[in-house]
């Protein structure tokens, strides 16, 4: 029975869901190195199972959940949509991130140095709710006289890229371990509309009954990788994937991390990930709009000696004052930098572990702590605070239970496990256990798993 429950648990966790932040500072699995290049490693080498060495999926929605929109009740969909529209605000967002490790290998260079390298593909998207423009489109401007609709609410960023990386983790002394990783980004697709500004308004006026105004309009949409050199949209998935490996738009990034032991029981870990950029110079297609415009209507002059085409005048005046253009200019996009940090206090029964060099390391069976996880996003950082409890069921089976507070919810419970099956190291984790019971009411679901061969 014990084994049955255990197997059930492992299958559930590993094959379903969790979140990468669960893996941070946990279990000494090879994946930890991708989240903290300064993580301690106590194995001689590792070989990730291609495509399965690290897979993570994370989707989140703030402001409403699926149940708000699609609940099976007697209300019309239109009513539910309007309630959701009323509920959300312009800082609500939908984010999506998935990573799949194609290759991940590491080996010990010497007693103090561990090298790792590999290649993974990442799909990342965040889009904020442009509430003003959704309402403008849905209700029109007539119900909102004298209200300004802000273009700054239009903010989104999406990337599909491949990352070739190499990292080093070095033990400085018994207390400190530091690490760094260099990354070469190959962007396949980038779409971003950031830092837009300006307003549209319809207001009462002295000249006419109403006046429409575009004030300080400055907007842009930048894309790369979605059109080919002939300006035709690329519709071949194979071409998108091929560009993730040393494709045409390249970038450079760095990760830094450390592990510091204040005492044998108190450990601090931290990392800065994806401090980097991508230069998009090929297959770019950008759209810009810039200007100011005031429309009072067609000003009839009743000048018989000089007949005017008022409509044409307005159109020309608009074109002169509000400049729209399509360009192929190169641009630079910044990677969403991540900040992780954890403070962990270990306690309880001690255990020994034989490490790669036949030395022994002491561990504790239990630990508590907290960690922060922050992603720099266009409008505001995505911040999570997690408290956790770790328990080792044996020398080879470790579990972690978490409670997270973030934009999505203040009651996100997660669980993760790391275990060693012979040479096979398995990691799996799921965030938002309560949400899994009914996904429709959850604002976020995330999971992460990985299979690696680890040589002690």
């Amino acid at each position: 029975m014990n084994k049955l429950v255990l197997i059930l648990f492992l299958i559930s966790v590993v094959s379903l869901k969790s979140q990468q932040k669960l893996a941070f500072s946990f279990g000494e699995s090879p994946q930890t190195l991708l989240l903290n290049p300064g993580a301690e490693t106590n194995f001689r080498s590792h070989y990730g199972i291609p495509m399965l060495s690290d897979f993570s999926f994370d989707i989140g929605l703030t402001g409403f959940n699926l149940n708000d929109l699609f609940s099976n009740d007697s209300r019309a969909f239109k009513t539910r949509f309007e309630e959701v529209l009323n509920k959300i605000n312009s800082t609500d967002y939908m984010s999506f991130n998935t990573k799949i490790d194609i290759l991940n290998v590491g080996f010990r260079l010497n007693k103090k140095t561990y090298l790792s390298f590999g290649f993974y593909e990442e799909l990342d998207f965040i889009g904020y709710a442009p509430k003003d423009f959704i309402e403008l489109f849905y209700y029109g401007n007539e119900p909102f006289l004298n209200r300004s609709f802000s273009l700054s609410q239009v903010s989104l960023k999406g990337d599909f890229l491949g990352v070739l990386h190499a990292g080093i983790s070095k033990k400085i002394n018994e207390k400190l371990n530091v690490g760094a990783r260099v990354k070469i980004y190959s962007s396949s697709i980038n779409i971003e509309s950031l830092n837009n500004s300006g307003t549209f308004s319809s207001s009462t006026s002295n000249e006419n009954i109403i006046r429409q105004s575009l004030n300080n309009l400055n907007g842009q949409v930048r894309t790369s990788g979605i059109v080919d050199s002939d300006d035709e949209f690329i519709d071949s998935p194979g071409e998108y994937f091929s560009k993730t490996f040393l494709g045409s738009n390249m970038g450079l990034g760095l990760d830094f991390g450390l592990t510091y032991h204040f005492t044998s029981q108190l450990e601090f870990t931290a990392s800065l990930l994806d401090i980097g950029f991508i230069r998009h110079s090929k297959n770019t297609k950008n759209f810009n709009i810039d200007g100011n415009y005031v429309l009072d209507g067609l000003n009839f002059e009743y000048d018989a000696s000089s007949l005017s085409n008022y409509w044409q005048q307005v159109e020309q005046d608009f074109r002169d004052r509000v400049i729209t253009e399509e360009t192929q200019e190169a641009y630079t996009s910044w990677r969403p930098m991540k900040i992780n940090a954890a403070l962990k206090y270990s306690f309880g029964e001690k255990r020994d572990k034989t490490c790669y060099s036949k030395t022994h390391k002491q561990y504790y069976y239990n630990a508590i702590g907290f960690q922060i996880h922050n992603i720099m996003r266009p409008i505001k950082p995505q911040f999570s605070f997690t408290s956790f409890y770790e328990a080792s069921l044996s020398k080879k089976i470790h579990t972690k239970f978490t409670h997270t507070i973030n934009d999505y919810s203040s009651i996100i419970f997660g669980a993760a496990t790391s275990l060693q099956l012979g040479k096979l190291s398995v990691f799996g984790g799921l965030d938002n256990l309560l949400g899994v019971a009914d996904v429709s009411t959850a604002n976020s679901i995330a999971f992460n798993f990985g299979f690696n061969i680890v040589i002690d």
């Binding site: 014990n2 429950v5 255990l6 059930l8 648990f9 559930s12 966790v13 379903l16 869901k17 699926l66 149940n67 699609f70 609940s71 099976n72 019309a76 969909f77 239109k78 949509f81 403008l136 489109f137 849905y138 209700y139 029109g140 401007n141 007539e142 319809s202 006026s205 006419n208 009954i209 109403i210 006046r211 429409q212 429309l295 009072d296 209507g297 067609l298 000003n299 009839f300 002059e301 009743y302 018989a304 007949l307 005017s308 085409n309 008022y310 409509w311 044409q312 328990a391 069921l393 579990t399 239970f401 669980a415 799921l430 256990l433 309560l434 899994v436 019971a437 009914d438 996904v439 429709s440």
Partner: protein, 180 residues
């Protein structure tokens, strides 16, 4: 494994296995947006000398002006509009009453709609009028491409005096009711 851990494991396992979204309904997604768009249309300000021919020293009883009206050139608008409303606000500081006639034409100068004329009495500073067109009753209106506004002074014993500053102020908006 102690009993506590076993219980936790069992609960989590059950959570994953009973994960469901059965209470969602994706069959009933029918979202019709009904935006109402309003925009300024025609405005003008006329002085008394706009109705006076200084060469012949005579009154001009009627003046007209015309413009393109391209709202319905957009097929998106043509397909989705079901009602058009025109609102007018007129301020008459003349000592004369006058009549306004607004006529829409298609590209071949055929009349598509004549808004019932309205008369604004002398010194009426707050005249308002409205005209609503249901497209289902007058689909021909969607072929409108020009608009003419005629301002016609009513006959009177009182003559226009270009030396006195008195104005007529005309304002209007178009409101489109769409069903998307």
């Amino acid at each position: 494994m102690n009993i506590y851990i076993k219980n936790v494991v069992t609960i989590f396992s059950l959570c994953f296995l009973i994960s469901c979204t059965d209470n969602l309904n994706f069959d009933d997604i029918n979202l019709n947006a009904d935006p109402i768009l309003t925009a300024p249309l025609i405005y003008f300000e006329l002085n008394q000398d706009d109705f006076y021919n200084s060469t012949t020293d005579t009154e001009i009883p009627m003046i007209t002006d015309t413009s393109d009206f391209k709202v319905f050139k957009s097929s998106a608008i043509r397909n989705d509009v079901f009602k058009v409303v025109f609102d007018f606000e007129i301020e008459n500081r003349f000592d004369r009453s006058f009549e306004i006639n607004i006529v829409f034409f298609d590209g071949n100068d055929n009349i598509t709609r004549t808004i019932p004329s309205f008369t604004i009495g002398s010194q009426d500073l707050n005249y308002v009028a409205s005209d609503s067109i249901e497209i289902s009753s007058l689909p021909l209106f969607l072929s409108s491409r020009k608009v003419r506004v005629e301002v016609k002074l009513d006959p009177s014993s009182s003559q226009i005096d270009p030396n006195i500053y008195q104005i007529i102020k005309f304002k209007s908006t178009t409101t489109l009711h769409l069903s998307l």
